[in-house]
């Protein structure tokens, strides 16, 4: 039987606010345990939550970027369950009335575009961490993360393969960083994913029973976890078994998912509106303000790059993959003041190649956009050749000098003085009568020999076009 995979993703994006969603404590990562948790985060008796307006703003920014409905009135609810790293015994989240409603995100897989529905996105607080090592069989609790603002983004079950799921996740990852609402750091858990996976016979309308795979923290693991889960489910069904609705955990070391708890063991969270918080009112004016400030989004930027800089799909995607990349490129174009094509080939070729080799991000590039533009200017105005430019690039990578300084200091300037070139050409013709003979008798290939000799004599600084022209004249 042919099977069809159905996937929906729940993504937790940690919002890049300075303080927590309901307290003034810092959200910075990596502090010693329990040093960034105040009485509110610790759930002490008598404390009350106060909503961080910045978190609301970021949620609205996200909602507007995916063209979603923004709820004018949304409500925080308490999600009740006991766990040692959940200080209050409930998590403040949104349930019936989330701040962001229906929206969508377009993904591309194998050159085909597909629209993925976003059911909702809601604000909530993160829990702390339980540490099971180093406590001699006891558990340590670190509540630094407790109260960190999260935006939980829930997709429709619109994805049909692990590849689509990864494409969606990447797209979302790119978007939240574009919007500067999440740093996207997956190692630190700023961007986490739960996947709902089911399979059904191809052509069947209703969904199969799903399993939820928890806490997958890399693109690679999402693909692997889903693929494992799909095979596991198909295996069971083809052997006449039934899928149990349950929560499963992905083990990256063993590359497998395993059961955490079944539906019967699932918590009844007893959600109810949190009486400590007022409903969140999003005024039309806030939406207008955010709309005006919304940056150019990845899709629009890519299209613009294609149109404005005559790039193909792949190049435009590469150059708009992050806001930093796109900004870098556009700064090069602006400052170089030359054909965009030259900029494109240098940024995607030489620069990204060098960065890749060095394992650096564009934001860490040793050569700033303005310096690179300076180099490209010299290529464009024929001061140096492309080949010499590579040499200058190397020098620039190592130090802080600009292209002009290096060209000057090393004497790399192209020789455009035809008199000087003529002297050299005349000497070479005089020194190599045999080759002249061969050329004049019709062996065109020998022409390359003369060009090589001239370049050698000028250390590559002669303008190749000029050399060609003059040699042709002399050898008539």
């Amino acid at each position: 039987m042919e099977w069809e995979t159905v996937i929906g993703l729940e993504i937790h994006a940690q919002l890049a606010t300075k303080s927590k969603i309901f307290s003034g404590a810092s959200t910075a990562y990596g502090a010693p345990p329990n040093t960034q948790a105040c009485a509110v985060d610790l759930g002490f008796p008598g404390v009350l939550p106060v909503l961080n307006k910045q978190a609301v703003r970021m949620a609205v920014i996200f909602g507007m970027a995916i063209e979603a409905e923004i709820a004018p009135y949304s409500v925080f609810a308490r999600k009740n369950y006991f766990y040692p790293d959940l200080p209050k015994g409930y998590q403040i989240s949104q349930f019936e009335l989330p701040i962001v409603g229906n929206g969508h995100l377009d993904i591309q897989v194998n050159g085909v575009s597909k629209r993925i529905g976003v059911t909702r996105a809601h604000l909530e607080e993160d829990a702390g961490k339980s540490l099971h090592e180093d406590f001699h069989g006891l558990t340590g609790i670190d509540l630094n993360r407790a109260g960190t603002p999260l935006l939980e983004i829930v997709s429709e079950p619109d994805m049909r393969s692990a590849k689509e799921a990864v494409a969606y996740m990447k797209k979302l990852h790119e978007l939240v960083r574009y919007l500067k609402i999440c740093d996207g750091n997956m190692q630190e858990g700023s961007f986490r994913c739960d996947a709902n996976v089911s399979v059904r016979p191809k052509g069947q309308q209703e969904f199969g029973t799903r399993a939820e795979i928890k806490n997958i923290n890399s693109f690679k693991f999402v693909e692997k976890a889903i693929n494992f889960e799909v095979e596991r489910q198909i295996d069971i069904l083809e052997n006449g078994g039934q899928i149990v609705q349950e929560t499963r955990l992905y083990d990256a070391d063993k590359d497998e998912t395993r059961s955490m708890r079944s539906k019967e063991e699932a918590n009844d969270y007893r959600y109810f509106p949190d009486p400590d918080l007022l409903p969140v009112i999003v005024e039309e004016s806030l939406k207008q303000e955010i709309k005006a400030e919304l940056p150019e989004l990845p899709e629009a930027k890519k299209q613009r790059f294609k149109d404005q800089y005559q790039q193909d799909e792949e190049t435009a995607s590469q150059l708009t993959a992050t806001m930093e990349m796109a900004d870098y490129y556009e700064r090069v174009v602006k400052n170089a003041n030359c054909e965009a094509k030259l900029c494109t080939s240098w940024v995607t070729g030489t620069l990204l190649g060098a960065l890749n080799k060095a394992g650096l991000e564009i934001s860490d590039s040793p050569i700033e956009a303005e310096r690179l533009a300076g180099l490209l200017q010299r290529i464009a105005d024929n001061t140096i050749s492309g080949k010499i430019a590579k040499q200058v690039f190397e020098e620039m990578w190592q130090g802080n000098a600009g292209a002009d300084e290096i060209i000057e200091a090393k004497g790399l300037k192209q020789i455009t003085d035809t008199g000087a070139i003529e002297v050299i050409i005349d000497k070479i013709i005089a020194d190599n009568p045999a080759q002249v003979e061969q050329y004049l008798s019709g062996k065109d290939k020998v022409f390359g020999f003369f060009v090589g000799q001239v370049m050698k004599a000028t250390q590559g600084k002669a303008n190749p076009g000029e050399v060609n022209k003059m040699l042709k004249d002399k050898l008539k």
């Binding site: 008796p45 008598g46 106060v50 007893r270 109810f272 009486p275």
Partner: protein
């Protein structure tokens, strides 16, 4: 000195008739003598003396306010930095808060001298102060009777003149009912008027702090210090605080008083009814118009309250899990054992009962039938009041159906106990302000008169109540034993 009101004591301090240190010593001495009342969980003698000294310095510098140097007590539900905050529970018998409640800070700021933390029903759940881990409190008027609850310690301490004034909290009547039982004045402000930050939560949408004092004037003085917007409490209301002493003397001629028909039906003790009627006659004499009104949904208050309050408390009390603070059982086997035994051993029966009721009411399959339904009825009750206030200025009635009942009399029947709040609960559901003032005696026990005002009409309530105290002396009477 102890027979004086806060206003009188403040004048005495200003006129150097006595110092705050002397005053504080005097009251501390009375607290020692009255230990059997069991009004205090903690007496903070040392701190009190230090604060009193500072108060005297301020008075000497002419920087005294109306509460400077005045000995008061804080209900043990308010977090106090460096002083145990038990909330009447074994769960928090070892708890010292790292911060102070806004109310505590404001009253400290005003220069009052805290003598200690006052006994209360465990987590404010109770109407008799009998659910306290620290034992029952005795009613100064009849030491075999309860002082009411949950602010029983506060009411008894003010009635026995162990403090000049005290704070209380009112979720379903916890200020007004004990004030009535103990013959003192107790004001529950509009929900949102006083910050809840640092006040240990029972039912967040109903809890409100207020003053408990001998007189209405004193209540105005204390409320002045307590009220105001607090950025730390999202449900506190950003509205200016008027000068509550300002309007006290206003003439109430022509005041329109609504009398809730339903409050005078079955269940109201005859002696209480008579006393309340006599109080209304006083108002007639002062030129007020009294008309009967009907609030048809009022009868649903108790069932609605006993869904909403437990539902909220079931979540509010989840944080007491033995992990970070409070009681943790000995040698837990594992996590579940720690949860079950810590909570099982440290919570009392009434608290457990309400957590269970609330958990049930919020559970899948019951939520709509109980919690949602209760919220809908709650809105209807609020609308009943709204309608009434389009017709009358204030609403009056009894505070309690009976006078203070005997210690142990109702502990075996929770429903019977719950019914003692039948006249107070609706006010919390609607979020309105209301005051209880002494209106006389029935069988030698105090009876209270309840006056309910419109939202943020505390000034008017205080004015109306103060005018009554000008023509009566019920509020000046002292239990013989504590004279």
């Amino acid at each position: 000195m102890h027979t004086k009101t806060i206003a009188e004591l403040a004048r005495g301090l200003q006129n150097r008739e006595y110092s705050s240190v002397e005053l504080t010593q005097h009251f501390l001495g009375r607290i020692k003598q009255a230990e059997s009342v069991n009004a205090f969980v903690t007496v903070t003698e040392e701190q009190a003396m230090a604060v009193a000294k500072k108060a005297d310095e301020q008075i000497a510098k002419g920087q005294a306010g109306p509460l400077t140097g005045i000995p008061i007590g804080q209900k043990d539900i308010f977090c106090t930095q460096d002083v145990k905050t038990s909330c009447g529970s074994k769960m928090l018998d070892n708890f010292i808060s790292p911060y102070s409640a806004t109310v505590v800070e404001k009253i400290n700021q005003a220069g009052a001298v805290m003598l200690g933390k006052l006994n209360m029903d465990e987590f404010a759940m109770g109407s008799s102060n009998e659910t306290s881990f620290y034992g029952a409190v005795k009613n100064p008027w009849d030491t075999t009777a309860v002082p009411g609850g949950s602010s029983g310690g506060s009411a008894a301490a003010v009635a026995a003149r162990l403090v000049a004034g005290a704070t209380g909290t009112d979720t379903g009547g916890s200020i007004r009912q004990p004030a009535a039982f103990c013959g003192i004045t107790g004001l529950k402000p509009t929900y949102g008027r006083v910050s809840r930050y640092g006040m240990i939560a029972f039912a967040s949408s109903l809890d409100q702090a207020g003053p408990m004092t001998q007189t209405v004037e004193d209540a105005a003085i204390m409320l002045q210090a307590m009220a105001g917007f607090d950025p730390k409490d999202s449900t506190s209301v950003d509205q200016p605080v008027p000068d509550y002493l300002d309007g006290l003397e206003k003439d109430i001629k022509g005041l329109k008083i609504g009398l809730i028909k339903e409050f005078f039906a079955d269940g109201l003790d005859e002696g209480c009814a008579k006393t309340v009627q006599a109080a209304l006659d006083e108002y007639r004499k002062m030129g007020a118009e009294i008309k009967e009104i009907s609030l048809p949904n009022l009868k649903l208050s108790i069932p609605v309250y006993y869904v909403i309050a437990p539902a909220e408390c079931s979540a509010n009390l989840s944080r007491y899990d033995g992990v970070r603070f409070g009681y943790r059982c000995e040698d837990p086997k594992d996590l579940n054992d720690m949860y079950i035994r810590s909570r099982g051993e440290a919570f009392g029966a009434e608290v457990k009962r309400r957590i269970l009721i609330g958990t049930y009411a919020l559970s899948a399959g019951y939520y709509d039938a109980y919690y949602i339904k209760a919220q809908k009825v709650r809105r209807l009750i609020s609308e009943d009041f709204k309608k009434a206030f389009s017709d009358v200025d204030v609403i009056m009635g009894p505070v309690t159906p009976t006078t203070a009942f005997g210690i142990g009399e109702k502990t075996s029947d929770p429903i019977e106990m719950y019914l003692s709040d039948m006249y107070t609960i609706a006010v919390n559901l609607a979020g309105l302000p209301a005051i209880s003032i002494p209106a006389g005696f029935s069988d030698n026990k105090p009876v209270g008169l309840q006056i309910i005002g419109n939202y943020f009409a505390e000034s008017q309530l205080l004015n109306v109540a103060h005018q009554y105290q000008k023509v009566t002396d019920w509020h000046q009477q002292l239990p013989e034993q504590f004279a």
